[in-house]
Amino acid sequence: MKKIFLRLFSVAFAFLLVNGLYATPAFADSPINAYFFWGEGCPHCAQEEAFLEGLQKEYSNLKIHSFEIYKNRKNALLLQKVGRALSTDVSGVPFLVIGDIAFAGYSPNITAPKIRSQVEECFLNTCSDPVASLLEVTPEEPPLERSKNSDSSEHSINVSIIGLVNLDSLSLPLLSVLLGFLDGFNPCAMWVLLFLISMLIGMENKKRRWILGMAFIVASAFVYFIFMAAWLNLILFLGFLVWVRLAIGGVALAGGGYSLKEFFTNKDAGCKVTGAENRQKIFQGIKTTVTENNFWLALGGIVVLAFMVNLVELICSAGLPAIFTQILALNNLAPWQYYFYIFVYIFFFMLDDLVVFFISMKTLEMTGITTKYTRASRLIGGILMLLIGLLIIFKPEVLMFG
């Protein structure tokens, strides 16, 4: 009996101990004010917003005061005041103040634990609240309520065979395919491949022809992937700065304008002759590499050449990848999803190269895709870039599909 009593006592004690350790302390009744400055369309702000909402469920007296600064000038001025009061440099959003501690930017692994620890600190020991005295503006509803309250059926279409298709989940894959495909018709990327094919066609060894050609295409795709991944990470890193988003919007507008200008002025759909000296150097490099007797040296040479040529040509085709990675950054995806969409983009970007290469290798005749498609892609791409540019600048939330 004594043993049973002792066991019951131990279990009850352990329960109370565990409960006591993990339960929210009940003594902190005074509200903890968190001042959350954010911008519409800022992906890091949306991430932090979601984190704060979760935190609010754990700490019932955590009160989040939310201030949108892109559209609300009063809030932007308040942010400057807060920065001055806390002697902190405010360079962008998200910007969060709890007590007298400011958190600039947001990273789930670095900032989130610090915010949590500050909330706990203010929970256990009452923190000072220097921002409260500056507060003249009535805080708004928490940001991104729109997405939570909106009815998902409004963003869906009923396709008879498939059923209800959610447009939000469809938009990003579709955009990846469309932009990649349009970017693929960029003549910058095609001319080197055509010259390489002209050299490969004269080669007797069929296996060597295929391997060298495919090595060039795969290496080109890899360079593009590295470039886009680097660009994406830069945008994710600097995403909280408004001017980065505006600059990319500007690139989209300039790129769209250039494409439309080309569509209207280059009506004969011809190939532009530019950079004669550079072209001759590349041709010489290809000739030397392809005619190399040692297969491994030729293969290595082709890969190196693909890297070099595509790095040079990146400037020529930087517009659409920059726009696409900005859209990806706006969508707060899981890391694998970012790279998956980049992969989809690049697959469709390389599709026309693959078609030209396969047909040429099968028929042993040079094949080109009519430049009329290039013209059409300039028209569609130009309009699309102008639209996306305007959205990135004025309505970035439209491009947040998820």
Binding site: L194, F195, D268, C271, K272, V273, T370, T371, K372
Partner: protein, 89 residues
């Protein structure tokens, strides 16, 4: 009449034009044509001032004077029309 065709292996539009010309040349065996590569045949390229867009098709009369030139991708019907209109010149 004679047609000088200027193109390059790296120019997709030039490659698209090749089968069109092949058809015309087989249908009009009397037509004299000559192909010049932009990167290899420097002399005719300079002589005819080919410097901005490819492909370029220069139509010459019997005395070698330039009648007209067409640039970019041109339809087969347009080429036939031009050849028919100038074949006796």
């Amino acid at each position: 009449m004679k047609v000088l065709k200027f193109g390059a292996v790296w120019c997709a539009g030039c490659l698209v034009m090749k089968p069109r010309w092949k058809e015309i040349e087989s249908e009009m065996p009397w037509l004299e044509t000559r192909y010049y590569d932009f990167d290899l045949d420097k002399e005719p390229v300079e002589k005819y001032g080919i410097d901005f867009t490819l492909p370029v098709f220069v139509f010459l009369d019997k005395s070698g004077e330039e009648l007209l030139r067409l640039t970019g991708e041109v339809s087969k019907s347009k080429l036939v029309e031009v050849i028919e209109a100038n074949k006796d010149k």
